[in-house]
Amino acid sequence: MKVKTRLPHLLMGVGILYFLVPLLWVVIAATKSQPDLLDSPALWFAEFNLFENIGQLFREDGGVYGKWLLNTALYSGLSALGATALAAAAGYGLARFQFLGKRLFETALLGMIMVPATALVLPTYLILAEVELVDTMWAVILPSLLSPFGAYLVRVYVDESVPVELIDAARIDRAGELRIFWQIVVPMMRPAIVTVFLFTLVATWNNYFLPLVMLSDAELYPLTVGLTTWFNTAQQEAGTRMLFNLVVTGSLLAIVPLVVAFVLLQRFWRSGASAGALK
C-alpha cells in the first residue's frame, strides 16, 4: 500500500508548494522594510521589521487602515446576516409552499445566479445616486443582500432534510407559520444557513468592483479598495511616499483572519456542497 501512495503524495507535495509559496512570500515580505523589500532575496528574511510595518500601517493617513478593516468586517457581517435571513425565508417558502408565480420564480432563480454581478453595478449606482445613498455604507450593503444562490441552496436543503410531516404535525398543534419556521425549520437547516452565511460573507469581504464604484470617501473604503489606492499611490509617487511595505503588510493582515476562519470552518463548505446543491 505504501508504494502505491508514493506518487499521490509526491503530487500533493507539489500542490502544497504551489498553493503555499505565494502566501509564504506575503508573510516574509511583510517583515521587511521598504528598502529590503526591493533589494533582499524574495523568499528569505532580511532585517525583521514586521512590528514597525504594522505600526506604520495603522498610523499612515491618520490611521485609515484600521477603519478599512472595521468597514470590511461591518459590511460583510451585515450583508451576510441580511442575505442569509432573506435566503433562508425564501428558500423555505419555495420548498414547502404553493403559491401563484412560484414555478416562474424558481425558474428565474436559476437565471439570476448567472447574471454577471458587474453588469448590475453601474445601473445600481445611478439608481442609488437618485436616492442619495451613494458614498454611504448602504450603497455597499444593500446590493450585497442579493443572493439567489443562497435561496436556491436553502430550497434544495429544505426539500431533502425537513420532513413535511413534521410541519403538518406542528400545524395540527396550531402553531403559527412564523413559529414553525423559527422553532422547527431553522434549527433543522442550520448547516445550510451557515454555508450561505459563509458564502455571502466571503463574497462581500472580497468585493472590489461594487465599493470601488459606490464610494469616494476614503474613510468608508473596505480593505480591497483601500489597499489598491495605496498601491497606486506607491507606484505614482515612488519618490515621495514609501508604501509598498504597507501594501504588503496590509494584505497580510487582510487575509489572516479569513484564512484562519476558512481552515477552521472548512467542514461547513463541504456540508453545504453535500447538501445537494452542487451534487
Binding site: P35, L38, Y125, L126, A129, E130, V131, E132, L133, V134, D135, T136, M137, W138, V213, S216, D217, A218, E219, L220, T229, N232, T233, Q235, Q236, E237, A238, G239, T240, R241, F244
Partner: protein, 437 residues
C-alpha cells in the same frame, strides 16, 4: 419629470443625516454664519500642509480635502458623479490633457465671471492657453512638466560618449552604449500616452485642435504628419535594434532598472527630480540633466509631459468661493509653494515662483550639485500652444495600446500612428464630431 415624487419621498426618508450617521454627511455647503466650506479632490503629495496653509490664511472659506485616488481613479469617480448629477466636489484637480474632456462633459464652471482672468499674467503662457478657451477660464494651472534629458553622467564620461544634442546623435549614442555594456540600454520606451505625446510635442507635431467656444462639434486630428511620424520612426528603430528597452514606466521594476544602470537616459520632465531623488538610491549623484536632443541641429523645440490644474465643477454650491480656492490654494501663496517645491517636488507654472533664484539656483544632490531648474525653466518659457482633444483618454489609450502591439512584434512601428489615426477618427465621428486633418 415622471416619477420624481416617489423618488423625492424616498429621498427625504433615506437621506436624513441622522439615519446615515456613519456616512459622510453634509459636504460642501455653507453653514449659516460660519465660513463657506469648499470640498476639494486632489492627489498632490504633501497636500495636507497646503490645505492647512490655505485654511489658516482664510477666515471666510475653509477647504475640506479628500484624496479619492490618483489620475484615472479620480476621473472615473468624477465622471460617475457627473452622470449621476451629484457627488462631485466643488473643486477638482485635473491634468491639462483632461480639461477639454471635462469641458465637453459640461462639468466645469467658467471662472472668468468670478475674476479668474486677472490671473492671466501670473502663469506660463502655454499653461494659461490650455486652461482657457478664449475669455473662458476653466482651470487654474498649478504644476507642469517641461521636458529635458536625464542621463547617467558618470557612464557617459567613463565611455567618452558625447551627450546627444540631436536625435541623430541620440541614436548614435544608443549604439555606443550597447557596445560599451551589452546589458545597458539608452532608455526604455514606456508606452505611456502622455510621454509619447510629450515627445511628439517636442518634435513640433501638433496633432489635435479643438475649441468648444469656436465650434463644439469640430475637431482636428492629424497624427500622421511628418513631425509626428519621425518620433515613432526613431524610437521604433531603436527598439527593433534592441538598443532601447521595452519596460513600462512607473512600476517598481522600471525604477529598479533605472537604478541599476540598465538605462542610461530618460527623457524626463520638470517633476522628475523629485520623483527620482526619492526612489533611486544606488545611482544618486551620478545623474545629470541636459536639454532635449533636437530634430534639427541648433533648433530649440520643446515639449511638456504632465501637469495639472484646479477646476471648479458645475456641482459647486458656491462657485465664487470655489474659484477663490482654485486660484489661491497655490497661486501666489508662499507657504503653499514652499511645500510644493521642497516636499512635493512640483514644477511651478507660476512665473514668479519659477524665476525665483531660490528655485532656479537650487542645487540638487541627486544631480551631483547641478542646478537643473536652470534647464527646465527656459523650456517652460519656450513651450508654445498645444491643444488636446475632448476625448484624450481614448487617444492616449490608443497610442499606448498600439505602441504595445508594436513592441510585442504584432504590428509594424510604421503602422502605429496610421492605425491610431484611423481608430481615433472613427471614434470621433462615432461621437458626432466633424473631423478635419
Amino acid at each position: 419629470m415622471p416619477g420624481t415624487t416617489w423618488l423625492a419621498k424616498l429621498r427625504a426618508g433615506l437621506a436624513a443625516c441622522g439615519l446615515l450617521a456613519v456616512a459622510a454627511c453634509g459636504g460642501a455647503t455653507s453653514d449659516d454664519g460660519g465660513p463657506v466650506k469648499v470640498s476639494v479632490w486632489a492627489w498632490y503629495p504633501e497636500f495636507k500642509g497646503v490645505v492647512e496653509a490655505f485654511n489658516a490664511s482664510h477666515k471666510d472659506i475653509q477647504v475640506e480635502w479628500t484624496n479619492v485616488g490618483t489620475g484615472p481613479d479620480q476621473y472615473a469617480k468624477l465622471k460617475t458623479a457627473f452622470t449621476a448629477g451629484k457627488g462631485a466636489p466643488d473643486v477638482a484637480m485635473v491634468e491639462f490633457q483632461q480639461i477639454p474632456t471635462f469641458i465637453i462633459l459640461d462639468a466645469l464652471v467658467d471662472m472668468g465671471p468670478h475674476g479668474a482672468n486677472e490671473d492671466k499674467d501670473l502663469y506660463a503662457e502655454w499653461a494659461w492657453s490650455q486652461a482657457t478657451d478664449g475669455e473662458k477660464v476653466y482651470a487654474i494651472p498649478v504644476d507642469g512638466g517641461p521636458m529635458a534629458l536625464m542621463y547617467r553622467k558618470d557612464l557617459f564620461d567613463q565611455h567618452a560618449i558625447p551627450v546627444p544634442t540631436t536625435w541623430a546623435e541620440y541614436a548614435d549614442a544608443a549604439a555606443k552604449i550597447k557596445a560599451a555594456d551589452p546589458e545597458g540600454h539608452i532608455a526604455s520606451f514606456g508606452s505611456d500616452g502622455g510621454w509619447i505625446n510629450g515627445l511628439m510635442w517636442q518634435s513640433g507635431c501638433r496633432p489635435y485642435g479643438y475649441s468648444q467656444a469656436t465650434a463644439k462639434d469640430q475637431v482636428k486630428i492629424n497624427l500622421t504628419a511628418p513631425e509626428c511620424k519621425r518620433v515613432f520612426d526613431l524610437y521604433g528603430d531603436l527598439v527593433e535594434k534592441g538598443l532601447m528597452a521595452k519596460d513600462p514606466f512607473f512600476t517598481a521594476d522600471a525604477t529598479a532598472a533605472l537604478d541599476s544602470g540598465k538605462y542610461w537616459t530618460w527623457a524626463a520632465a520638470g517633476w522628475t527630480p523629485g520623483y527620482v531623488a526619492g526612489s533611486l538610491k544606488n545611482t544618486a549623484g551620478k545623474w545629470a540633466v541636459a536639454p532635449m536632443p533636437q530634430w534639427t541641429a541648433g533648433a530649440d523645440e520643446q515639449g511638456d509631459w504632465g501637469g495639472s490644474t484646479f477646476t471648479v465643477t458645475k456641482q459647486a454650491k458656491n462657485p465664487a468661493a470655489a474659484t477663490t480656492v482654485a486660484r489661491e490654494l497655490f497661486g501666489k501663496s508662499k507657504a503653499a509653494w514652499d511645500i510644493g517645491l521642497n516636499k512635493a517636488f512640483l514644477y511651478p507654472l507660476v512665473k514668479d515662483v519659477a524665476a525665483d533664484p531660490a528655485f532656479t539656483g537650487k542645487a540638487y544632490e541627486f544631480f551631483n550639485g547641478q542646478k537643473v531648474n536652470e534647464i527646465f525653466v527656459p523650456v517652460s518659457e519656450k513651450l508654445g500652444e498645444f491643444q488636446y482633444t475632448p476625448f484624450q483618454d481614448f487617444v492616449f489609450g490608443e497610442l499606448n495600446d498600439r505602441s504595445a502591439e508594436a513592441m510585442s512584434g504584432s504590428r509594424s512601428w510604421d503602422s502605429v500612428l496610421e492605425e491610431t489615426q484611423k481608430n481615433v477618427v472613427a471614434y470621433a465621428e462615432q461621437q458626432g464630431f466633424k473631423v478635419s486633418k
